[in-house]
Amino acid sequence: MKDPTVRAVLAKIGRYTFLSVLLGFFALPMLWLASTPFNAHPTLDVSISSFTLHNFSVLLKDPYALPSLWNSLLLAGGTALLTVGFAAAAAYALSRVRIPGRNGILYALLLLSSIVTGTAAMVPLFELAFKLHLIDSRVGVILVFTGGLLPAAIFILKDFTDNMPRSYEESARVFGASPFQIMRHIVLPMIRPGLATVTVWAVVNVWSNFLIPYILIRNPDKYPASVVLYTFYTEGGQPDLALISAFSLLYSIPVVLLYLFVSHRYGFRFHGGIKR
């Protein structure tokens, strides 16, 4: 056998081994998530020793499990709605109205919102919510989320509105459309891919966030799924793998559905703006 052939075969073996390991790294947790909820004796292994739906029936009896998914939906939906609404209006205004230093304002907001996050932001946020009597209120959580997501959402949408030719709006104006009609008939439909992107991004952010609802909400009836997930422990203080895995599966379904829906409707065209 010639040398180059051996080298080629070895390179191929090496490449596929690497790909297999990489694939395993990402696939195994998924397999675990898919199999463990149906396992009567769940462990951290990927296996179904004995199939059961018992884990789900326990979950259904849990007073907080299913309502928490509804709570998550309320928080995510409310935040997405506010974020998209305000961000679209702000992005349109910022790309059309000449304000001195408008880019400076936007970059400053973006910078601040990405530096002051997580735990560092929680103390002042808690204090603010307390003074506004928004502790233990869903509206409070939604407002905190919206505030945090807005700068980046405006930034994303401004790229779409910047790329929109002005002649569309001017044409509508000459035909007598009011600013509100122009926004509704022309601007919003034209930046729809951007709106879809921001919606998904906002929902995913809220859906997975633990800290903000954990700190701002007191009443367990209002806990979202991300917080409830951390309450599934056995009496002995061990994580209850059966409940955690079953709940995780339910927890992930809405996000997957949202992704499929948006991907189907808009095909995730992140190209920004309108090509002409």
Binding site: P165, S167, Y168, E170, S171, A172, R173, V174, F175, G176, A177, S178, Q181, H185, I186, P189, M190, R192, I274, R276
Partner: protein
Amino acid sequence: MAQIRTVDLTKTFADAGGGVTALDALTLTIEDGEFFALLGPSGCGKTTLLRTLAGLETPSSGAVHIGEADVTRTPPGKRGVAMVFQDYALFPHMTVTENIAYPLRVRGVPKAQQREAVLAAAADLGLTGTDSTVGLLDRRPEALSGGQQQRVALARATAAKPSVFLFDEPLSNLDARLRLEARTFLKRLQRELAVTTVFVTHDQAEALALADRIAVMQSGRIRQLGTPREVYRRPANTFVASFIGSTPMNLLEGVVRDGRVLVADSEIAPPDGTGERLAERAAVVLGARPEYFRVSPDPLDGAFRGTVEVAENLGSSLLLTLDVSGTAVQVVVAEEDEPEPRATLWALPRKDRTLLYADGELVG
């Protein structure tokens, strides 16, 4: 149907270096039903004027009247104007029908009436009734050809039933062949609708072909206002003279001597009645279009004598560039009169078509 009047219309754009005057105290009357062209090089203010008529720009001072009303402060939607943009601005997320119906939708016209108006406008613009237009009304603008897009934009404008049409470079987005077709179509449409129409163009041929009257603009001012014939035959100044005409006019510097004009070592007879009025040794510019020369291989009296430098084929004719004692003079000859390279020719400007400019203004 309305007359348009502007009075001392001025528009200044704030800029880093103080400001740019796009319109300079412009006073202009466009008659009811007229097809009016604003012609000029880019940056001359023609588009600003059109946008000010539409209400998309607010003048710095002066007034705009449409019909009886002073509309200087009236928002664009309340002026009774319809505008067709250079890129047509057809809404990409709406079908052709929805696009044409948009002006009516904004006004809250009932759906059934919208539909009727769309069909009428589409029929007027040739968007229905032929094989190539089957299903066209339900398509999106991106699925249309350039010419069809233009007609949809025009249909949308007519559906608005305006008293004034404003067209911004209506033909510049079409390819050359389609442009001629669209030009004829546009002229016929304007005749039929008899709506006052103002259009902006940088193409002098387009302005000459379409307009009833042309305003040639430069630096926010009107340099000449007249019918295509007037503007072509007797450009009021050297700017208009150099701008109008598909082959540029010869503008030759010379001096007056003994009632004749000495240009490029040749003595040319001035236009009738100007010889006596001109001061001896005054500096003048002689204007003569390449088309208005008598060209001969034999000596002619009072003609330019030059050698053929370049011969450009224009199809039915030839554009010759002659070297007349170091000055380039362009003349047009018929296709069968093609000279030998470097041949010596005599070119005699037609006296009744020769123009004389002093200090840039027409004197005869």
